[in-house]
Symmetry: C2
Subunit: 333 residues, 2 copies
């Protein structure tokens, strides 16, 4: 059943073809540049308790000539509902018109994956061969797609606590990666986290674990650790001691990270070295020899605390809406 | 140009036929009953400054067996843009699904009009003959339609500061009221506010005036004063002395009214008598002789401070979405 709408309504089935992951990654690089220039506005998240639910709003604005404001919203109390949805409407900041909206839980994860891919491109050597992915949930899917889109990984080793679930994940992702133009990536199921992360050039940790899962001696000297799962003092998947061994410690959303109660790195030595990735990107770009500096960063060990910079959803929603409008115009000849 | 949407997207052209004003008034009476029973949830309004705009959210929930949560949102900085829109998405509070949405500025005004009509029905005698409407803006339109839908007014006298604008308003509203099934209401343009309100059974004040516009001696003993426009200490259209002469002093949204800085009635004798309309409705209903008590209230002078009870938009949005779904099912046979 489809109803007519005066503006595009993009659902999860349409999003990947309208904004393929490579485009989403490029948009997230653009987001970091805008954020560093103060043109991606991301105020603190809002929350409204309405007795039978809790509406969570992540608002933002893109302060560029096109000019949009909008937000992502979902009912926090429905996070475990299989039928739950999210919505991301986009308003024009020139005239207040609704330009379109995205609906469904994919946009948030697509964006978080693309942020991971964009960061990986800058902090990991492109000759790198092996990716480790720990976790086989919803976020792990878009992280994996983004990583192999960002860099020419030859091999991905995946660990999931539940073997049956991990096998399904591997089979589904083989198909998805092949469909997305990456048929040659070898995907293996690891028997342990240690096996998965040994010799890996990058480790994406996308679990729900409240206990640290990694030992420093398992990790390569120049590994990139991408922390998608829990990052609180009382619940975290990567131990602070391991983070502390990293030369570069970043997050995509510093203010949001610091606003968390019990944020893992608060009051730690690693926390004192925590930088916003967009700011690092800008400082490298403004240096005399940016290429040499990126190469230096790529040969070091790095860590990124993935938060989900607010406002980034709007860039992807806008691209999807514009692509939808363009395809409609084309089909009209 | 229409795009396909997985749920109904109701715009301002469709709303009046999906939820005619008589239905909207009945829904607002239901809203007052739900609110009195603690089942229409309306927390304080949220606001997010995003540099190039200000997103305003009015969140709410309907805690009934159908169960919905949602909000109305608009960019406050675009209030004067002719192209601006508003959006009211509706989520199911059972499974977090998006059930549909309304888009456009009409829903808020349709709701505020319907609240005015619902209150008028209870506080004004149905034998009443003359309505005065002061103001000819966007809110005045829905207030007028709601008033003649709620009660069999024979005559409406309208005053607008700008004669040309007021004439256009009168002509447009004659057509609109005829189309809505009220062809016999006589609509006249008054030369002064005094002329408009003399002998009126109800006065709807829907101006933007920051100066008090009314004198006590112009008003009937049993008039109902409906205050849609400014109601702040430094900017108000109805003087406190006039409000103080009223026997019944109500508002549709007491908590919201009291949360305003500089709310006109704060610290006044009239303010001490200010009651929530839903609470008055419930207390009359629970009395021994509700009919006699309503009749007593109808023969007294009354005042209502119209705020726009949060959550009420959701009841109208839900009815519109359900009507749209039902009409689609019917057309499929």
């Amino acid at each position: 059943m489809a109803y007519p709408s005066p503006f595009p309504v993009i659902d999860d089935d349409q999003l990947p073809s309208l904004v393929p992951m490579a485009d989403a990654i490029a948009l997230m690089e653009q987001a970091f540049r805008l954020h560093a220039a103060g043109k991606l506005i991301a105020p603190p998240r809002l929350q409204s308790e309405v007795k039978t639910g809790t509406l969570m709003f992540t608002c933002g604005a893109i302060d560029d000539p096109t000019g949009n404001i909008g937000f992502r919203v979902y009912d926090w109390k429905q996070l475990s509902s299989p039928d739950r949805s999210e919505m991301t409407p986009l308003f024009s900041s020139r005239d207040g018109r609704v330009e379109g909206l995205c609906v469904g839980p994919l946009l948030g994860a697509w964006r978080t994956g693309a942020i991971g891919g964009a960061i990986l491109k800058h902090v990991t050597s492109i000759e790198s061969g092996k990716l480790a992915l720990v976790g086989t949930g919803y976020q792990a899917r878009t992280q994996l797609l983004a990583a192999v889109t960002a860099l020419p990984f030859e091999e991905v080793e995946i660990y999931g606590r539940t073997i049956a679930k991990a096998s399904v994940f591997v089979n589904e992702m083989k198909t998805q990666l092949a469909d997305a133009g990456h048929p040659d990536v070898r995907i293996n199921l690891a028997n342990s986290i240690e096996q998965a992360v040994r010799d890996a050039d990058a480790v994406i940790s996308a679990t729900t674990s409240r206990q640290p899962l990694y030992r420093e001696e398992w990790l390569s000297e120049n590994v990139h650790l991408h922390n998608v799962g829990p990052k609180f003092r009382k619940a975290h998947e990567i131990p602070v001691e391991v983070i502390d061994t990293c030369d570069t410690i970043t997050t995509d959303a510093l203010a949001q990270a610091l606003s968390y109660d019990n944020f893992l790195l608060n009051g730690t030595a690693a926390g004192e070295r925590l930088r916003e990735f967009s700011e690092l990107m800008q400082s490298v770009q403004e240096s005399d020899k940016p290429k040499r500096r990126w190469n230096a960063i790529r040969t070091e060990r790095s860590y990124c605390c993935s938060i989900g910079l607010a406002g980034t959803e709007l860039l992807i929603a806008r691209a999807a809406i514009q692509a939808r409008i363009a395809s409609e115009s084309n089909s009209l000849g």
